[in-house]
């Protein structure tokens, strides 16, 4: 009962956008949840593993390119294309992880950035394969089990289902012994090593799992936009998702969701008034890092604790 109530409330909250009159808001809610899956995947690395990646767009972008490319160019069916996209992008994470985890800290950040740029370069310059700057289009959403995802509300339901899976599984992972090991490796790598943990393997597993969920977000991203261009693989995308994690509160479960909501809303609202999204992104980035390094969710819950303590006194 203690768990059932919050779960029911969460599901109700997740489904509430379906009641909104305008499909525009339903679409924005879908964008928020897709971004949240993406941010949750990166949070595993940044928040729990202490590994700051500046190349996480690689997995979302590759999976999205594969989803659309395999269907429109290679004649795959929708389901095989989606499975291949997630499988190949995860395999890529397994290879990239071998390279990136030669270092931690700054070195890790720079290697992930460089690896991300390779993919951006491929997408942008290898025109025959990727359509270059024009990207790939001509894709339509699938209709799994007879549910035509072309309707925004049906698509939103689909996204909610995937998001719920991702959230629950990643929450369980964070609470599992593996999650505890990952946090231990983040805070006390040498002690963990002395205790007999294989610190490299824990980080590597986290890297691959993060790549997997990033790829899942990529498939949804491809379904949502039905179009993909190199922009998705750019450093700006990787920075955006890192901002979601840091702004919301790295290492918490609700932080990435809050961060995704803030960034997606900011992006949509801001683009209605100003065209300078990248500048705004930079300003928010600097402001968050300088003034609120711990993020929204930990910051707010600290505030709440303080008020409660003041009320009790």
């Amino acid at each position: 009962m203690r768990r059932a109530l919050p779960a029911a409330a969460a599901i109700a909250l997740l489904l509430s956008p379906l009641l909104l009159p305008s499909e525009f808001y339903v679409n924005i809610a879908a964008q928020v949840l897709i971004a949240a899956i993406f941010a949750l995947s990166l949070n595993l690395l940044v928040g729990y593993g202490g590994l700051i990646s500046l190349g996480h767009a690689a997995y979302l972008g590759t999976a999205a390119y594969l989803t659309i490319g395999l269907v429109t160019r290679a004649g795959f069916g929708q389901l095989p294309a989606a499975l291949c996209a997630v499988g190949l992008a995860t395999a890529m994470a397994a290879v990239f992880g071998l390279l990136a985890l030669r270092a931690t800290g700054l070195g890790f950040l720079m290697i992930t950035l460089a690896l991300g740029q390779i993919l951006w370069g491929l997408a942008y310059r290898w025109v025959a394969l990727t359509g270059g700057d024009n990207g790939l289009s001509g894709f339509t959403r699938p209709a799994p089990l007879g549910l035509a995802l072309t309707s925004p509300r049906a698509f939103y339901l689909f996204v909610v289902a995937v998001f719920a899976c991702a959230f629950v599984l990643l929450a369980l992972l964070a609470r599992s012994p593996f999650g505890a090991g990952l946090r231990g490796v983040r805070d006390q790598p040498r002690r963990m090593q002395a205790l007999g943990w294989n610190t490299w393997l824990i980080r590597y597993a986290a890297f691959v799992i993060a790549g997997f969920w990033g790829a899942v977000a990529g498939v949804l991203f491809a379904y949502y936009n039905q179009f993909i261009s190199p922009h998705v693989l750019g450093l700006t995308s990787s920075a955006e998702v890192l901002l979601m994690v840091i702004a919301g509160g790295a290492g918490t479960l609700l932080g990435p969701l809050a961060g995704a909501a803030v960034v997606v809303l900011l992006k949509n609202v801001a683009s209605a008034y100003v065209t300078r999204w990248v500048m705004l992104l930079g300003i928010v980035f600097v402001a968050i890092v300088v003034f609120m390094p711990e993020g929204l969710v930990p910051g707010l819950s600290r505030l709440r604790r303080r008020r409660r303590a003041a009320g009790a006194a």
């Binding site: 720079m110 491929l122 025109v127 930079g282 600097v286």
Partner: protein, 285 residues
């Protein structure tokens, strides 16, 4: 044969520009442990400043000096105002430099619009000279010469002056340098200004070859990263060798396999990461 000679010169010229970009990047990283992700933006902004100075009717060398000075000032202010505040929090510093890179990138788009614009060459350096029966663009030869001159001057600064000795001491062992009374904070600002000035100067000098366009910053930043990974942190010879190697690789890649040139560029980096057992970013001895 002509092809190889001409492309070699192009590779040298690009290598020279990369050296101007990445020597500062490497010094800043070696000394301050800050991966300054604004460095690509410095290069681009330097080129734009140079363009504006040229459009205002001043000469090319005035533009080079103005680009270097403006970016040095910007770098110094950023270091003093933002990075200093976050000292000791390396990752926060890196994220702040990334945020600033986005701001500069977008602000440049606002000010100088989205069209690629080549900087005009100085009139004294247009045309070509004949060497060994081949014709070589004079400007590219000059760029190679200037970058080599800068390399020598930097080497003299680092190896033959008191300030250089302090910088080297800081790169080798920061704690010890502090303990010996070396004014590390001032050194940080100085090196940051120097690195920024070199990047800004590189941007103006690169203008006639690469043009200046939105996105130049993000094109150049990964190149500086690769050079750093290949050459080692804070190592001047490493930066020089790495720059020319990458300059050659990119030039020939673009001439022979244009679709994949950008990707080929990263192969030595991947090899270096995979093969170097430890101390990928170790401070250069």
């Amino acid at each position: 044969m002509r092809f190889w000679l001409v492309q070699s010169l192009n590779g040298l010229a690009l290598g020279g520009l990369l050296f101007l970009l990445s020597s500062g990047f490497s010094l800043i990283f070696g000394l301050m442990r800050v991966a300054n992700l604004t460095h690509g933006a410095y290069f681009m902004l330097g080129a734009y400043v140079g363009l504006s100075v040229l459009n205002a009717g001043y000469g090319f060398w005035v533009a080079v000096a103005a680009g270097a000075a403006a970016i040095a000032l910007l770098g110094g202010v950023l270091e003093r105002v933002l990075l200093r505040k976050l000292s000791g929090r390396t990752l926060s510093q890196v994220l702040v430099t990334l945020g600033i890179a986005f701001i500069i990138s977008d602000a440049s788009l606002l000010v100088w619009s989205g069209d690629p614009m080549p900087l005009p060459m100085p009139p004294s350096l247009t045309g070509a000279v004949a060497i060994f029966g081949g014709y070589f663009p004079r400007y590219r030869l000059a760029v190679v010469g200037i970058s080599l001159l800068v390399a020598v001057l930097l080497w003299l600064l680092l190896e033959r002056t008191r300030v250089g000795a302090m910088i080297r001491a800081g790169v080798d062992d920061m704690e010890m340098a502090r303990a010996l009374g070396i004014p590390v904070p001032r050194l940080f600002t100085a090196v940051f200004c120097l690195g920024a000035a070199l990047a800004g100067m590189g941007g103006v000098l690169g203008g006639p070859i690469l043009s200046v366009y939105p996105g130049l910053d993000m094109d150049m930043l990964p190149l500086a990263l690769i050079v750093l990974i290949l050459g080692g942190a804070g190592s001047l010879p490493g930066a020089l060798l790495g720059s020319f190697f990458i300059g050659f690789l990119y030039t020939f890649g673009q001439a022979l396999l244009p679709d994949l040139a950008y990707v080929i560029l990263f192969l030595p980096m991947v090899a270096a990461i995979a093969l170097r057992p430890k101390g990928l970013f170790a401070r250069a001895a």
